[in-house]
């Protein structure tokens, strides 16, 4: 499962209280507020720990989420766009996070750039549904995935720093 640092970060994210998905007209606005509260707290905690690594925002009804995530490798910052739709079965099932610009570059991805999570993730989500929210998805899903995949993609030359391609080519 996740490493010690991830576990500590996750334990600090507040759990959500409202069991409602986007089809639940009455309760969804409350759940959406809780999602934002947990996300804001998580980002603030990351900033305080000097480990700020993503931003996320949604459309008005909270069904489509877009944002960016970044990864620091050898003092260089690599940034990627991320996106996902909330499935109608959320929060009983987790959304499939996509990093479209990495599509086709790694086998740990399904078509459309959806990241392929470890076999531990689905049971972990199921055991904690509906109290886990999108902040938990970032911490336990996308975070560990980036930590494993990005250094590997950089070492293979499949991900190149935006300001360094010229230098790299000149070497």
């Amino acid at each position: 499962m996740a490493d010690e640092a991830t576990r500590r970060a996750v334990s600090q994210i507040p759990l959500l209280k409202t069991h409602a998905g986007p089809r639940d007209r009455a309760l969804w606005p409350q759940r959406l507020k809780e999602e934002y509260q947990a996300l804001i707290r998580f980002v603030e905690q990351n900033k305080a720990a000097d480990n700020d690594w993503f931003r996320l925002e949604s459309n008005a009804d909270g069904t489509r989420w877009t944002g960016t995530c970044w990864f620091i490798h050898e003092l260089l910052r690599y940034e990627f766009r991320l996106e996902f739709d909330l499935p109608v079965t959320y929060p009983d099932t987790a959304p499939e996070v996509a990093v479209p610009e990495l599509d086709g570059k790694t086998a740990k991805m399904y078509r459309g750039g959806k990241i392929c999570l470890t076999e531990h993730f689905a049971p972990l989500w199921a055991r904690n549904a509906p109290r886990f929210g999108l902040a938990h998805l970032m911490a336990l899903g996308l975070g560990p995935w980036l930590a494993v995949e990005i250094p590997d993609l950089i070492s293979k030359g499949l991900v190149v720093h935006k300001e360094r391609p010229r230098e790299a080519a000149a070497e």
């Binding site: 949604s58 109608v88 079965t89 740990k108 109290r131």
Partner: protein
């Protein structure tokens, strides 16, 4: 050396040329297939002649297997997911002369799909439902097709999906007779489960494991048999040591054989269910490593998370109570062998009592079937929850943007 701009231009030129070639090829193929296509057939004939596409199917009646084979033309089946299992399933139903097929898939055909059956390399880039309809219509023009190229799990599409399965029958406005889940992910299965529990729609679930060596089919009658949310996902144990299973650098493996077997088991169950012959399986597993086929039945879980599942269970209970008890006395002829010097006797693996008992949070499952994971009955772990807030959603959204 050419500049980047020149190369870009050249790429665009070649792309345009490719599109023209593809269009030309399609036009030729269409003209060709129109010349080859047989006319539609109004009524299935049992006549045994080379030109009758239904003669071998209608022979099932003469042999006493099926009472009324023509009835197949009155049924509508929705296939969700037209991949390795779904495409073969759709082809089998098309060849059997099903009345109407609804196909749902958001994906495109890729060359990486060519280790599976049905799709062909020249179809790469086409949407799966479009490519499938084209091929299937050529195989049997008597079948009606309705295709939807979208992901059923998103809000808007899900509403449309619910509408089509409740109104997309052969006679517009009537529900479909059966939904077949041939998808490859948990979200989509749960979405189908949600829709079917709400509508009281009978469906069959199918799946192949990510290591490609096991699979299963399952009949779900809302309120009566366990729905997909009644228990953690069931898996057919392949008896592979987890330590020897390498997952590095790959997400999923697939074999045309396992997918073909599962599609075959699925459609066999569909035919038995629709045409009323043989015994319909509630759950049938396939372990390819040992060639073992565990089977069982599982009742709906009264504590199921899905409230529509619980509502369907109430309705089912009421219906059962209203029905007069009919004692079914099955007379079984005892098979007596002249001699049995080795003392061979048949022993049932699971009794009905054991099957009935197999419901609950951690289901009691027969050998060879297990759950992917278990879920604690009550959350005991505490932990901080989000506080009450005076802030509106708009405030929170703005705050998040400002961070």
């Amino acid at each position: 050396m050419a500049t980047v701009e020149e190369l870009k231009l050249r790429v665009r030129e070649l792309e345009n040329e490719l599109i023209k070639c593809k269009q030309k090829q399609c036009a030729v193929e269409d003209a060709h297939s129109q010349a080859l296509n047989r006319p539609k057939i109004d009524k299935m004939s049992a006549e045994v002649v080379d030109s009758n596409p239904y003669s071998r199917l209608m022979a099932l009646k003469r042999m006493g297997i099926v009472d009324d084979y023509e009835k197949i033309r009155t049924f509508t089946v929705a296939v969700v997911g037209v991949g390795g299992v779904g495409s073969v399933t759709a082809e089998m139903l098309t060849r059997c002369g099903i009345g109407k097929l609804l196909l749902f898939d958001y994906d495109k055909v890729e060359l990486a799909n060519m280790n599976r059956l049905f799709f062909q390399p020249h179809q790469a880039g086409l949407s799966k439902v479009e490519a499938a309809e084209h091929t299937l219509r050529n195989i049997n023009p008597d079948v009606l097709f309705e295709t939807h190229n979208y992901n059923i799990t998103t809000m808007e599409n899900f509403t449309h999906f619910m509408d089509r399965i409740s109104h997309g029958g052969l006679e517009e406005g009537k529900p479909v007779d059966l939904i077949l889940s041939c998808v490859d992910n948990f979200e989509a299965r749960m979405a189908i489960n949600t829709a079917c529990n709400e509508l009281g729609q009978i469906w069959m679930e199918s799946g192949v494991s990510e290591n490609a060596v096991s699979g299963h089919i399952q009949l779900i009658i809302p309120g009566e048999t366990a729905c997909f949310a009644c228990a953690p996902p069931l898996v057919v144990a392949a008896n592979i040591d987890e330590k020897t299973l390498k997952r590095e650098g790959v997400c999923a493996a697939s074999l045309p054989t396992t997918m073909g077997v599962v599609a075959g088991l699925l459609v066999q169950n569909v035919l038995k269910y629709l045409l009323k012959f043989g015994t319909v399986s509630y759950y049938l597993g396939y372990n390819a490593m040992q060639d073992f086929f565990p089977s069982m039945a599982m009742k709906a879980n009264p504590q199921c998370n899905d409230r529509h599942c619980r509502r369907q269970q109430e309705e089912y209970k009421k219906k059962e109570a209203e029905q007069p008890k009919v004692e079914v006395v099955q007379e079984e002829e005892e098979v007596v062998h002249e001699d049995n010097e080795w003392g061979i006797e048949l022993v049932s693996e699971v009794t009905d009592e054991e099957l009935k008992a197999a419901s609950g949070v951690v289901p009691d499952l027969p050998e060879g079937i297990t759950v992917a994971y278990t879920i604690p009955t009550e959350d005991t772990t505490g932990g901080d929850t989000v506080e009450e807030t005076e802030q509106s959603l708009e405030d929170l959204m703005a705050q998040m943007r400002k961070l």
